[in-house]
Amino acid sequence: MLTEQEKQEISEELKHCERPEAAAIEALRVVQKKRGWVSDASLRDVAAQLSMTPAELDAVATFYSFIFRKPVGRHVIALCDSMVCWSLGHDDLYKLISTKLGIGYGETTGDNRFTLLPASCLGACDRAPAMMVDDELFGPVTPETIDEILSKYS
């Protein structure tokens, strides 16, 4: 069940949209903001509010990299593995983070603190290698700064 607040926030989004389904991404993000991911039950509830079928909404939800249809950790690390970040140290950075957290791409730490994902170009090539943690961009990320960055997230 969606909370009253979630329903209210989705209604707000609908006001900006020409048609209800145009709010699909934002509505899914409303759910994801509190719950971290979009469960089948949440998907059905959101679809009903947008006058879409669950299948229509799931087609949208599964298309985009930053809508999660599986549980993720409390924080999501999106490490850029595109051209410039790769040429300036992505592979070493990945190994370092992976060793520190004990997880690879697509995995979540046992304490549910972090999920690690590869990201397509973050548009921060002038600050490569770059990564996002939740909604915050970091770069250039170095072996010296990585601990400090991760320590911000509990």
């Binding site: 709010a23 947008l50 051209m83 170009c121």
Partner: protein, 418 residues
């Protein structure tokens, strides 16, 4: 050249409307409203402005096609889905001078007869969402957006629509699908968006940088604007430079500045005093060039003549230590991940390319792999629904063309180099 597009970017807090107004924001609005919409279109045609997003389509022509379609409901969409690897330029305008973009959109909407605009913003620019929403709110409060702008009877409403991580949404018909709340997969054309775009209404989609040029074209006049930079496609251009250079960043220079000047004069040359090996001039989907191309002018026609493209003007520089098989692998991995899956040549082609490169990366390359890669490219070339597939084969073809020795060495030795 005096900065135009990035003039206010260096001014602290220029994303606040009061600061922006002190430095000339919204100054071109009244001039534009004093002209007939058709004259605004003609001014942009006289400026011979070409789109800055990647395809380089003449902006004035695109507008004219939409303006001529009868009907009162039209849309103006700003493509702020800056996802082409290497491309960073629009971020600077979005973060530091959103009022330049808004001003450009109000004028553009007036020219084509659109009273509703959207900025389609990529998810990966989370900082930009707050800045844009605040800027739009301020513009409404000061009467630069909304009903009866400047008391001239012009209406224009604007809001931001965010994506959720999909490179393909930078393709204009995929962007429209995503805006409508669907999977971001391209539409078949025709009909072109100018006649049937968002919600099947006439629609113009322009890039952030393209729209940001409009106030200057109106302010100085199309003829004066056309005298800046390259004769065939003039104007200022924001080059975003990254990779193995000493000073990565954005540089606003006259269109047609040479790669050598950009890399060695403005960006301080190659990091660590190393030699340049390769450069991608316009983002991941533009063919790779070499040291022998350093004197090529960075404009649409000159780069095509040199066998590449201007694309988004995203210059990615690689030094002598880089192995081009690795580069092609990383680029192909990106395209294989971002292929939307709608058409077979792109979906399968990028996946097959990725398989062959994965083998090469594991030191398991075989005799004949170069020919196999070229064959797969042939099955993709000219057969895809949208430009993504065409872009995906460019790093393969150009790296084999210029750096075949890297491939031969990899296949022969089986050694993986990094």
């Amino acid at each position: 050249m005096e900065k135009m597009l990035l003039k206010r970017v260096d001014i602290p807090n220029a994303n606040d409307i009061d600061v922006a107004l002190k430095h000339g924001a919204y100054g071109a609005l009244s001039a534009a409203f004093g002209m007939r919409p058709v004259d605004v279109v003609n001014e942009v045609k006289r400026a011979t402005l070409r789109g800055r997003g990647g395809a380089g389509f003449p902006t004035g022509l695109k507008w004219e096609l939409c303006a001529r379609v009868p009907g009162s409901l039209k849309y103006l969409l700003c493509n702020a889905d800056e996802g082409e690897p290497g491309t960073i330029k629009d971020r600077f305008i979005l973060h530091q001078d959103p009022h330049l973009l808004i001003e450009g959109m109000v004028i553009s909407g007036y020219a084509i007869g659109a009273e509703r605009g959207y900025i389609y913003l990529r998810y990966e620019y989370p900082k930009a969402i707050g800045i844009l929403e605040k800027a739009i709110e301020q513009a409404y409060a000061k009467g630069y957006l909304g009903k009866n702008i400047l008391g001239k009877g012009v209406n224009f409403d604007l809001s931001v629509h965010r994506g959720a991580g999909a490179y393909i949404c930078g393709e204009e018909t995929a962007l429209i699908e995503s805006l409508e709340g669907k999977r971001g997969q391209p539409r078949i054309r025709p009909p072109f968006p100018a006649s049937q775009g968002a919600w099947r209404k006439p629609t113009v989609i322009n890039n952030v940088e393209t729209l940001s040029n409009i106030p200057f074209i109106i302010g100085m006049g199309g003829d004066a604007y056309a005298k800046i930079g390259a004769e065939t496609a003039p104007g200022p251009k924001i080059y975003g430079v990254s990779g193995h250079v000493n000073k990565p960043g954005v540089y606003e220079l006259p269109m047609g500045t040479t790669l050598r000047e950009i890399i060695y004069t403005h960006c301080g040359g190659i990091k660590g005093g190393k030699k340049l090996k390769a450069v991608i001039p316009g983002g991941a989907s533009t063919p790779i060039l070499t040291e022998s191309h350093l004197d090529v002018k960075m404009d649409f026609n000159s780069l095509v003549a040199a066998g590449s493209m201007l694309g988004s003007g995203a210059v990615m520089v690689m030094d002598e230590t880089v192995d081009m098989v690795n580069v092609a692998y990383v680029l192909v991995r990106f395209f294989a991940h971002e292929s939307c899956g709608k058409c077979t040549p792109c979906r399968e082609g990028t996946a097959w390319l990725y398989q062959v490169y994965t083998r090469l990366m594991h030191g398991e390359g075989k005799e004949g792999d170069i020919d196999l890669l070229l064959y797969i490219c042939e099955t993709v070339k000219g057969k895809c629904f949208c430009p993504l597939g065409e872009g995906a084969i460019q790093p393969v073809l150009s790296s084999i063309k210029h750096f075949r020795a890297d491939y031969e060495a990899r296949i022969k030795s089986g050694v993986v180099s990094h």
